[in-house]
């Protein structure tokens, strides 16, 4: 449906080697504005490595990737964030000892203007910014769940797993990305929680973030079928299929990769 629109994000021949192992091998694909792309493949196929490459955590050994035709290859993670790519992680990387708000604010830190002067001396500047930050945080939390707003100052260690996942996505959204990478958001959840979370993601996206592009790594094929517009499949670091879910699910090599010969 969105296949003919100009691509927001492109990666071309992206490659990464670790010692003798080629984790990502010449991967090419693009994502249009507002599109949800599913990234699937068996464990070890290179999906997380790909995410690490396009967020600057690893530097590629070959190829390049761009946002709106601007080359981002070689940039550091915090620079890539500025260019509009944000992500969540397979294992929760929230700071458990800090409050819900504090974790959200981490995503907003870059946009804050208060410097040392406002911190130490003219506190009113800081206080104003703080109020706006809390409003923004509440707004983000409200998109997911009204109850979360009341837990603003609760330490993350005291909230449920599914709330933590929601919070992590909120934090990524707080950076106002053009492209959001979700790395197995429902990992470790019960089927009910998984459905709940995916419904949340879909609802939030449709209500507030129609222009947001998403790359979603998931193992649950029903979720992929349901939420994504297109799918890219990887195996052993190579792209083996691309297209709609129906097209890709008929791919022989993919079926073999998942189910064996």
């Amino acid at each position: 449906m969105t296949a003919n629109h100009p691509k927001l994000f492109r990666c071309e021949r992206l490659t990464k080697n670790f010692g003798g192992l080629t984790a990502v091998d010449g991967v090419d694909f693009g994502v249009s504005e507002g599109e949800v792309l599913g990234l699937i493949g068996p464990n070890g196929a290179g999906k997380t490595t790909l995410f690490n490459l396009i967020t600057g955590v690893y530097q590629p050994d070959g190829g390049r990737f761009t946002i709106r035709d601007e080359n981002l290859t070689g940039l550091m993670p915090h620079q890539i964030k500025k260019k509009g790519i944000s992500r969540t992680f397979q294992q929760s990387r929230l700071v458990l000892g800090l409050s819900v708000y504090d974790n959200l604010f981490i995503g907003m830190l870059e946009s804050f203007q208060s410097g040392f002067f406002d911190t130490l001396i003219r506190r009113s500047g800081f206080k104003n910014e703080l109020r706006r930050a809390i409003e923004r945080a509440n707004q983000l939390l409200r998109q997911f769940n009204e109850e979360l707003v009341e837990k603003g100052f609760v330490p993350v260690s005291d909230i449920s797993q599914i709330d933590r996942r929601r919070l992590e996505i909120c934090r990524a959204l707080a950076t106002e990305p053009a492209l959001l990478l979700l790395d197995e958001p429902s990992a470790g959840m019960t089927p009910e929680e998984s459905i709940e979370l995916m419904n949340d993601i879909r609802r939030v996206r449709e209500s507030y973030y129609q222009k947001l592009s998403i790359i979603l790594v998931e193992h649950d094929m029903m979720v992929i079928e349901d939420i994504t517009d297109r799918v890219v499949a990887l195996n052993f670091g190579k792209k083996i299929a691309e297209g709609t879910f129906e097209e890709v699910s008929r791919n022989e090599e993919l079926k073999e990769a998942y189910l064996g010969k």
């Binding site: 993670p77 800090l98 981490i106």
Partner: protein, 399 residues
Amino acid sequence: MKELKLSLQDFFLILLCLLACCAVFVAFLLATNLFVLLAIIFAVTLAIYLFNRVEQVKSLITGAFERRGKFVTGTVIAILFLLPFVLRSSPYWIFILTLALLWIMVALGINVQFGSAGIINLGAAAFYGVGAYTAGMLATRLGVPPLVNLLLGAGMSVVVGSVLFIPVLKTKSYYLALVTIAFVMAFHTLLNNEEWLGGAQGIVNIPLMSIGGYSFLREINILGFKLPSQANFYYLALVLGALMVVAASRIWNSWVGLTWNSFNEDTGDELSAKCMGVAVNKWSMIAFTIGNFYIGLAGAFYAHMAGYIAPPDITFYQSLLFISAVILGGVDSILGVSVAAVLLVIMPEKLRALQQYWIILFGIILVLMLILRRKGLIPARIRTYGLKISRALGGPPER
């Protein structure tokens, strides 16, 4: 009417608590009998234990303290101001309290580095030494006035600290620990052997603190009371210390404190902080610098208080004492590290009878703390940025 009753109750409780603490503290300072001392320690520990166990008392008192923040601050300042009056016949203890204030400054510095940002600096004594030696040398060789030396000593500490920027950024946790240990040991050897640094004698005959023409060796006459000359140092340290506590507190309760927490190696997550846009390297260096500034300033003050500084004051063991203020007191907790700093100065003085057993006890306590209560005596609370948060809104719970 109920409001008034609540206010009066709060004020009464706060005054009672603070005055009681003060009384016990002074009694502890002035007691000379070992059994009396141990009895006081036991009583205090018991009181704290009971306080934590009896919910009503605990919530009543903590509630009062939280509601009347300004009153608490005012009372504390008043008590601190009056301490030298109470201790005016024991000038030695006023001197020790001043030293405790200096240790609070050092602890605040290390708290920024290690507590907030997770940068382990086991070479803190070296930076203290840089501050002290700079002040000492500038004063004795170039006649620089003491007050200026405080800034210069702190500044020099920052400059020397920048030598370690690259290791701080490039090496992690235990490697950095080793680097800083090696640094302080090498620094100590340098101090001992270089004649221009005073060699084994150190720098002696450093002019004591004076502001303008006012010499700190004079007694103070206030309100009909005669305070010993040590009170001069105490009050200056109090003013400086208060400023530094306020600054540290404001920095903690702001985006800066949060930024440091976000990439703290032990409690935060550097990778996701970077992905969220945090310039980790820049903020690491800032934390390290601010910490060294605090530590260096305290060192410079010490030089002008003691009148001399020598290599035995600058050792790895000293660094360990400094950092233990943070470990024992409460990682990333300004109140916690301050209390611990004071205890670390006072305890060895009072328990002189225990002599070398003190170090053994200290080591054991440190081990127990690390194993059983890693967050410290008074752990850091949830950051509320100075806002008054009602419990109903999921306000900061007891930790």
